[in-house]
């Protein structure tokens, strides 16, 4: 065996979720873990702090932002389940060094859907955050260039919000029906 292949951590060490639970007990609202798939629900105000810890602490070393997306919980489960927030931004992080992952969720309310941008930590966040802004209208504080990425500038509204009529069309040319 060569030395440069990183080996899985020995048993008995803390998992990433346990580490952030230990470090930020006040910021974590909820956790979930199933067969090594770990999720933490974080308050929006604490995201920048937690993300910096995930990226920079040597025993976590989450150097790869795999995915950044959002969920609109309006009319969730046909309106039967009411949540106290409307949106949730979902981050998936991965560590190439330690081969471990974590999912971070940040609930946001309808009035002011705004969360800190992670572009300073992961450059990959730039286009992901533009996409989430384009599709859901969630603002990212500190983003260097927060403008639409998929839809055209003339487009009104955010099409993946559940209150956007699915068949509403905003043609650039052609019949305006």
């Amino acid at each position: 065996m060569t030395d440069n292949i990183s080996v899985p951590k020995p048993a008995g060490l803390l998992t990433p979720l346990q580490r952030i639970q230990e470090k930020f007990p006040a910021l974590i609202k909820e956790t979930h873990a199933f067969r090594g798939d770990e999720t933490a629900v974080i308050q929006a105000a604490g995201l920048a702090e937690v993300a910096a810890f995930l990226k920079e602490s040597p025993e976590l070393d989450f150097n790869f932002l795999m995915d950044l997306s959002a969920v609109d919980y309006l009319f969730y489960a046909g309106g039967r389940i009411q949540k106290e927030f409307r949106f949730e931004v979902v981050y998936h992080f991965y560590s190439l060094k330690f081969n471990h992952r974590i999912r971070i969720k940040v609930p946001l309310d309808e009035k002011n859907p705004e969360v800190d941008s992670l572009t300073g930590l992961w450059s990959a966040a730039n286009w992901y955050e533009r996409e989430v802004w384009d599709m859901f209208g969630i603002r990212f504080k500190g983003h260097p260039n927060l403008k639409r990425i998929l839809m055209y500038e003339e487009f009104q509204g955010h099409p993946l919000r559940k209150d956007y009529p699915y068949n509403k069309r905003q043609p650039l040319i052609g019949p305006k029906t």
């Binding site: 839809m151 055209y152 099409p159 956007y164 699915y166 068949n167 509403k168 069309r169 905003q170 043609p171 650039l172 040319i173 052609g174 019949p175 029906t177």
Partner: protein, 186 residues
């Protein structure tokens, strides 16, 4: 004398139509998965060169048939219109695949519900994607049209009922389509 000149002009028109239908210079406007089927039609196995249409020109100014192959989004629509405007007359448009014909299964914020809401269409080739035989059938129908010297000019003409009127340019519904077909035949 008059009869003779009529004879010659009609024969000249036939000759022009014959020459045009066997020298189709196509512009493939390929945006989506139908492109795969278009490629297999254009390749040696099905060999559309037999119909004189084997030579795609990637400049709209040098082509006379616009093949619109694949879904057209609202963002792409002005580009398609510009490409069509840049083509010299006489020109024909082929809607290749169901997305270009009606929008297909897309019924959302992003997709144009049929390219005939933007540019006039001569031949509709349905299918998701259409088989090469289906494409060749459409191509032969286009050749008949070229031979006769016909081309679609307008988006919708209430007199000839060519093109699609505004009420069926929205989301595709079976009821709306049947209503439109009935109004066309009456």
């Amino acid at each position: 004398m008059n009869e003779a000149s009529n004879f010659f002009t009609s024969k000249l028109k036939d000759a022009l139509g014959w020459a045009r239908k066997f020298s189709i210079f196509q512009y493939p406007f390929v945006t989506a998965c139908c492109g795969m089927e278009y490629m297999s039609t254009a390749a040696s196995h099905y060999d559309i060169d037999r119909f004189g249409a084997g030579f795609p020109r990637f400049s709209p100014r040098q082509s006379d048939v616009l093949f619109v192959v694949g879904t057209i989004s609202q963002k792409m629509a002005p580009v398609l219109k510009t490409v069509h405007d840049q083509m010299c007359d006489p020109k024909w448009v082929v809607a290749f695949g169901v997305c270009t014909c009606t929008g297909g299964f897309y019924d959302n914020y992003a997709t144009v519900m049929g390219i005939d809401t933007i540019i006039p269409v001569d031949i509709y080739i349905p299918g998701c994607p259409p088989r090469p035989e289906n494409v060749i059938d459409g191509l032969m129908k286009l050749q008949d049209k070229i031979q006769k010297g016909e081309q679609s000019r307008t988006l919708y003409d209430p007199n000839t009922k060519i093109g699609r009127p505004a009420e069926v340019q929205g989301a595709y519904t079976v009821e709306g389509h049947i209503k439109h077909i009935e109004s066309r035949s009456s």
